[in-house]
Amino acid sequence: MAAVSDLYSDLLAALTTARSAILSPEWQAELDQESSDVRVAAGKAGMDLQGAILTLSNANLSDIATEMQANETALITATNGLTQALADITKVQDVLSSIAKAITIVGKIVTLV
C-alpha cells in the first residue's frame, strides 16, 4: 500500500502538470481546430481542474487520508492515465477524458463545486 502522502503528492503533481498543459498555446491551438462543444467542454474541464487543485491544496492530509486510502487504486490509475495522456496533447479527447476521470476521483476524496 502506497503512503498517503505519496498518493497525495503524485496526484497534486499530475493535476498541476495538467494545468500547465492546458494553459499552453499548443493546447489552445489544438482546441481551435475542434468544435464549439469540445471547446466548451475543455473550458469547463480547465476550470474544474483548477478548482480541484485549490481544494486539494487547502485540504489537510490527515482529514482525507481515509478516503485516499479507500480510493488508492483508482487514484493511482487516474494519476498515471493523466500523465500518459498529457504526453500527447494533440489527442484532445484523451486529455479531456483523463482530466475528467482524475477530477471524479478527487471528488470522492474532497468536496468539489
Binding site: 502522502s5 497525495y8 503528492s9 497534486l12 498541476t16 494545468r19 500547465s20 492546458i22 494553459l23 499552453s24 498555446p25 489552445q28 482546441l31 464549439s36 471547446r39 466548451v40 475543455a42 473550458g43 469547463k44 480547465g46 476550470m47 474544474d48 481542474l49 483548477q50 478548482g51 485549490l54 481544494t55 486539494l56 491544496s57 487547502n58 485540504a59 489537510n60 492530509l61 490527515s62 463545486v113
Partner: protein, 358 residues
C-alpha cells in the same frame, strides 16, 4: 591590563627605603635582607626563594587577570551579538511578509489566468448558464480566502518572533533588563500559543508541522545578565519550535510560489510577448517593456530559495548564541543570507506583480 607586580621589578610604590620588604610591607620573612634600597631600584640581591615565590605569584595573578578579562570580553561580545541577531531577525521578518504576500498573489494570479484563458472557450455556454460559472468563481474565491487566512497567520507568527528577538537583545543590558523582562515573557507566551495554530495550518495539503524537521534540544549556556539567562532558559524550546515552524512554512511557500508563478509567467510570455508579436496589428509601444518585465520576473523566481537559506541560518544562529557562550557565531553569514532574501523579496515585488503596459 592590570598586573600586580612584585616589588623587585616595576612598581616603585612597593619599594621602601628603610629596608622593609616593599612587597610584603611589614612581613620580612621572605626577604631576609635588610639592605636599604632606593625607590624604583631593582632589587638585585634578594634571596632566590623569595624571588621565585614572587615570580610564581605574579604569573598566577597575571594569568588569572587575563582569563577573567578574556571571559568578560567574550561574554560581552556575545551579548553584543544579540543586537546584531535582532537586527537580522527584523530584516527576515520584513522579507517574510513580502514572501507571504507574493504567495497569495501567485495563487490568485494563476487562478485568474485559468479563468481568463477558459472564458473564450466557454463563451457560448456562459450566457446560457451564468449561474454555473458564477458558482465556480465564488467557490474559487472562497478557497483563495482560506489560503490567504493561512498566510496571514504565518505573518503574525513571524512578527511575534521578530518582536521577541528585539526584546531579548534589550535584556543584554543589565540596566534595562529587569524592565524589559516582563515584556519578553509576554511575547513568549503569545508565540507559544500561536505555535499550535501554525503547526496545524495547511499548505499544499500538509500541515506546517508535517514540513518541520525536529532537531536536538538546545543546551542553554549561562549568561552574566540574570534576566537574559532566566529568559533563555524558559524560551529556548519554544523559540526552537517556532523557528522550525518558520523553516517549514518558508519551504512550503517557496514551492507554492514556484508552482503558481511558473504557469502565470508562461501565460505572461504568451499574452505579453508572443501573441502581440504574431498579431497582424501594430506591435504595441510597450512590447519591449513588457518583455523585459517578463524576463526579469522569470529570473527573480529562480532565487526564491534564498528565503529558505535565510531562515535556516537564523535558526542556526539563535542556537549558537544561546548554547555557546564563548564559541564563534557566524553573524556575517546570517546577515548575508537575510540580505539575499530581502533582495529576492524586493525584486519579486517589483517584477512579479507588474501588469503589462499598454
Amino acid at each position: 591590563m592590570l598586573c600586580w607586580d612584585s616589588h623587585f621589578l616595576v612598581r616603585p610604590q612597593f619599594l621602601y627605603v628603610s629596608g622593609r620588604c616593599g612587597y610584603h610591607k611589614n612581613h620580612l620573612g621572605c626577604c631576609p635582607t635588610k639592605k636599604v634600597i632606593r625607590p624604583g631600584a631593582i632589587m638585585g640581591d634578594k634571596s632566590s626563594s623569595c624571588r621565585d615565590r614572587h615570580t610564581s605569584l605574579r604569573r598566577v595573578v597575571c594569568l588569572s587577570s587575563l582569563i577573567v578579562l578574556a571571559l568578560w570580553g567574550c561574554d560581552q561580545e556575545r551579548l553584543d551579538q544579540y543586537s546584531a541577531f535582532a537586527t537580522a531577525g527584523s530584516l527576515y521578518v520584513t522579507s517574510f511578509h513580502q514572501l507571504t504576500t507574493q504567495a497569495g498573489t501567485a495563487m490568485i494570479a494563476v487562478d485568474s489566468v485559468v479563468l481568463i484563458r477558459e472564458r473564450p472557450n466557454v463563451a457560448p455556454d456562459l450566457q446560457k448558464h451564468p449561474e454555473q460559472y458564477s458558482s465556480r468563481i465564488v467557490q474559487h474565491d472562497k478557497l483563495l480566502q482560506e489560503h490567504l487566512a493561512v498566510l496571514k497567520l504565518l505573518d503574525a507568527h513571524a512578527t511575534l518572533l521578530g518582536s521577541y528577538f528585539n526584546a531579548i537583545a534589550k535584556l543584554t543590558d543589565s540596566k534595562t533588563a529587569t524592565a524589559t523582562s516582563a515584556g519578553a515573557t509576554d511575547l513568549l507566551k503569545s508565540i507559544d500559543s500561536m505555535d499550535g495554530d501554525v503547526s496545524k495550518a495547511t499548505l499544499g495539503g500538509k500541515t506546517v508541522a508535517d514540513y518541520a524537521t525536529v532537531g536536538t534540544a538546545f543546551v542553554v549556556a549561562h549568561f552574566q545578565v540574570k534576566a537574559l539567562d532566566d529568559q533563555l532558559q524558559l524560551s529556548s524550546p519554544i523559540i526552537d519550535k517556532a523557528l522550525s515552524l518558520q523553516e517549514a512554512a518558508v519551504a512550503a511557500l517557496a514551492e507554492e510560489i514556484k508552482s503558481s508563478l511558473t504557469d502565470t509567467l508562461a501565460n505572461r510570455e504568451v499574452s505579453d510577448v508572443i501573441n502581440p508579436y504574431l498579431s497582424p496589428h501594430d506591435l504595441p509601444g510597450s512590447w519591449n517593456t513588457n518583455r523585459e518585465a517578463y524576463l526579469r520576473a522569470s529570473v527573480t523566481l529562480t532565487t526564491v530559495n534564498s528565503a529558505q537559506t535565510a531562515i535556516k541560518q537564523l535558526h542556526n544562529s539563535f542556537k549558537q548564541l544561546v548554547e555557546n557562550k564563548s564559541g564563534p557565531v557566524d553573524i556575517q553569514t546570517l546577515v548575508k543570507a537575510v540580505t539575499d532574501m530581502a533582495a529576492y523579496a524586493n525584486a519579486a515585488d517589483a517584477t512579479l506583480k507588474t501588469s503589462p503596459s499598454k
